[in-house]
Symmetry: D2
Subunit: 345 residues, 4 copies
């Protein structure tokens, strides 16, 4: 059995990793860390894991981590980067679900995250863990930068068009909406129930940290012209789910786009291109590792094509994709431990 | 006291009219109709109105309506048009909250609503009841076509720029989100709690009935070029509220737009242009007749300006705006009966 | 105009006071305090109050409070008691919405609130501000202890029966459910959206601070035997509302109970005894100062009568009742500023 | 592979069966019926099942059902009873998730369900499928009456005490709360999002169909005296979950009750007796087949012990328990296909 550990196991991403890894047939969950809950039994902090996880939380610096074959970091940004170099040296493989290794340009990273990077030398070694883009590189990687939730939903929705140069790179709008768990599990006034429920808002319109991550990927897969993406995130009063509404300008044949997408993702187990004109909802991917995409061509030449993309932010947008990456690195079936249909309702 | 009646008083718009009119100092609510609940006491159907409304529901064709000075139609589309001509003749003033008189071109109306219009001759007589646009015409009108909820939020957000030709009319995107009460109060599977809660989706991407209504207004206030608007509505798991995210391309000076908006609406009691860069949420207008608007200029020349606009769909998007129109027609303070701040939370 | 101030105006109870007082015809809102937001404009902290409240937050110890005729404390417990004595001396009338003056026995208070009381000598001077019980005393009071939200819903549901000795005092169960705003407006993990939404739980089963408050009132109005009340509070994933399900054992005639309740509250503007067998919901009292009560006698002698009671925790359970008390103290119509029907939906 | 079919596969219970059975290692899902969606692909009606279920809906009377080893009825009451006799004859084993076979007394059943029973002769043959009570009988059964959701949560919470005569049978209160999916998947006004969201209510206080089912079980396991249970169901604005708050009067030793419960359920995989004084929430069992129970003894002799019990109404309260029953009938590990921890959030 592969031994795995989760660092920062008390956030929503961390709990989701524990939930999925505790039932993954190829791995044994041996360490869960939390500096705040150190010494407590996992089952006492998370009753949902009673009878499923029989561990005590240890600190992030626990020696037990060394015994792991795989370590998942589900920590806030600017945490993993202090631990990863040493753990890599000790032979662990790392999948970092935070932002620490997602941006390959350290200057850009520091600009958005307002802290010096602790190991910029690893940025180029880290593989951006979007399997549908980087499957081959992931196989051989030791360090995975697991994509952000918005970037996963948006990038999967744009990738087939961008790679082939089928849309105008200078005019892309991503109007994205996220459930509240995307804000993390911490005491904050802005995400109190009564601040969020029965309300809807945009936030960070002037710039969100996921923007440079998306731009980097889009610019990496095309050479035409710098991508010009307008990205506006919104907060939805629901727990899970990301919904991205993309407005793109096809260069020629808007009608052919759907077919291209369907072909592009035909072999993917976790990307479902629905019939043209479909209206996916986030519920259809709840608790799954799937991304559903649907295209709506404009009614005339001058109108954009609308692309809809939905994921579960905690699964395909975080813990599930991380396990998908681990499965690839281990040469396993990519869907091991990730095969459930959506939870309705 | 002005005598008022509400036809179709059992939908969410109808209940909201009863709630607001029952406390309006200048009017007496004398008739509430419902074909389905005919004969029942209003208080038995809506316990929230116990001690406030002491009426029995009568049918839509009740003779009592003739005694009203003002009649509000809160019926589904293609209902008011069968009753309005006769009531107008009898000297009643009509405010129709349905779509029957919103589109001045009967062919266009029939194309979207799939039924022959019963009184196309009244379409040009009807005044589109957006006070911020048509205040003078409203004063003298006998028949008001009260705007739809999406059109109110979107039009108020575009009006100052469109009237002055400050944005490119050929490239406007309106990504709009609505609470579930916008779908009306009726037994429908798609709006069952467990179909909607904890989910988010777009709908009617290929075309929504509010699109021609918005287009008509935009094209009426400018002559440059036919507006090209992409409108995508979404359903938010909350009761009330519309949030519109507009992406527009300023022709020259994106930075000057905010100031123009602030000046344009400076005298309006129900349009609040917030400081540039603000993030209004729908909760801030809950149970109010206000529209809050905020502008976010793009970070570079080629990026769109993002305009955010929020209303309560049942108040400024329906019942409140109808009463605002009535106040104007009666020469009263426009805010009479509509002055409460937002309900938080 | 009566000058009023609100101390602690940034909690949900405080915001609700600002909302209601800003439109109250007999008063002028002149001070709003917040130690945390001191110096900021109210409208910048609460956009819902833009165009309605034109004040800057000052500190709790601001000299401006002296100029107020009425001061509402909407602070956490163990705050008002440090300020009230001096303000009373200066001739202000005080309505404290916190728990500081609710329990007349200081030892009992200190046991539940774990702090020494700063002015135990005022405890007997304070009048428990439940108008339906203490209207006469409230008229002449200088210091009102405004009831808690659970106690309001539960006490109003028991009062008519307890006063007349119609139920067994030794066996009363209050299974109560509250919306999340009852937990206050503060950054706390337990009331984060994703901790609360789509979940339901009991809390404080071993003892909640509202229990001694309810017991005190019940024991004050009857002499038979010490009340034995089991009170279990639950958290509902909604913003507003308290629902109390009471199980009581009528001593004789369970069927007569409803009639007694209807008569008891016949003159009350804010207590609505619904027809026997009704099912009130919290939505019917949303944003109102009303309490709706319905009785369901047991199907046999040995079964309890079920009494259902609903209020809006922020209005009748806090800010609205406080204003009702102020209206009484001022000799005004009790419903001034509080007359709106429930907001549906 | 065992061949299984689901009759009535478009309700929430039906979808949940499809979701769980499609990933169950020992069975092959070969038939899904729906009279309303007959002829449509399952994946078109439920996009969440795309890539997971490759069937077309057939009618309830499809000949394909005969080929099934196991048939699950997830139909409304008074449907299964018309199909079951013939299918039993053909050798199928039946698990009926509706109420048709839950009450062994046909007169009582007919009184509550207001229709003549079509096969009263099968009522005694049917085994009440609560594994923790009837595991041995289930093993050999051909026809299982799968318990209702409320009865599952309430019965599991009472069983250990009732069987041993540890509580007063004449005075039990079950204040129960259910998520909205319990009302089924159908167009109904009362369960529209905007009727339910942000509201809380009791319903059917005068009598709910699950009452006789609970009473039957309680009276079957004890002989002392007829159980006198007051059962009040409430509707919670959430999708999934049942929360039962039980008030019982221990005959002697309230403190010993917890230990007895812990021992009673020690070997059960799906009943989790938490430490005394715990506060389980419904989220902790979301999407699981578990029931969590916690006891709170009264603070004095005359106070009831409070027992809290939570389940997911669609899993342990319906589809999961049905599969648990099937596993038992097949001699498989009871938890096959049912082992996931709770989905948080």
């Amino acid at each position: 059995m592969i031994k795995v550990g989760v660092v920062g196991a008390t956030g929503y991403t961390g709990i989701e990793l524990l939930r999925l890894l505790s039932k993954h047939d190829a791995v044994e969950l041996v360490v869960a860390t939390s500096n705040a809950e150190k010494g407590k039994a996992v089952r006492d902090v998370f009753p949902s894991l009673r009878m499923h996880v029989d561990l005590e939380f240890v600190g992030h610096d626990s020696e037990l981590l060394k015994s792991c074959d795989f370590i998942f970091f589900a920590t806030p940004h600017a945490t993993a980067m202090y631990h990863v170099p040493k753990l890599l040296e000790q032979g662990c493989k790392i999948i970092d679900l935070s932002a620490d290794f997602r941006i390959s340009n350290p200057t850009l990273w520091e600009q958005w995250y307002q802290v010096s990077h602790a190991c910029p030398e690893l940025l180029n070694q880290a593989v951006y863990g979007l399997p549908e883009l980087n499957r081959q590189k992931i196989k051989d990687a030791n360090l995975i930068a697991n994509p952000g939730c918005y970037p996963t939903a948006i990038t999967l929705a744009l990738l087939p068009a961008v790679e082939k140069g089928l849309i105008n790179m200078g005019d892309i709008i991503a109007d994205a909406k996220s459930g509240v768990s995307g804000a993390g599990r911490k005491a904050a006034l802005a995400t109190q129930f009564s601040e969020v429920s029965e309300s809807f808002k945009a936030y960070s319109v002037s710039g969100h940290r996921h923007l440079p991550e998306i731009m980097q990927t889009l610019n990496n897969v095309q050479t035409e012209s710098e991508a010009n993406l307008t990205f506006v995130p919104h907060l939805v009063p629901m727990n899970r789910g990301i919904f991205a509404t993309l407005y793109v300008k096809p260069i020629e044949n808007a009608e052919g786009l759907h077919e291209h997408y369907a072909a592009y993702y035909a072999q993917e187990k976790f990307v479902d291109v629905m019939p043209q004109g479909s209206h996916p909802n986030t519920a259809s991917v709840r608790a799954t590792n799937s991304c559903r995409i649907a295209l709506h061509p404009g009614k005339n030449q001058s109108q954009p094509t609308v692309i809809l993309s939905v994921i579960d932010n905690l699964v395909k947008g975080a813990a599930g994709q991380a396990i998908q990456n681990m499965n690839i690195m281990l040469g396993l079936d990519e869907s091991l431990g990730l095969a459930m249909p959506g939870l309705i309702p």
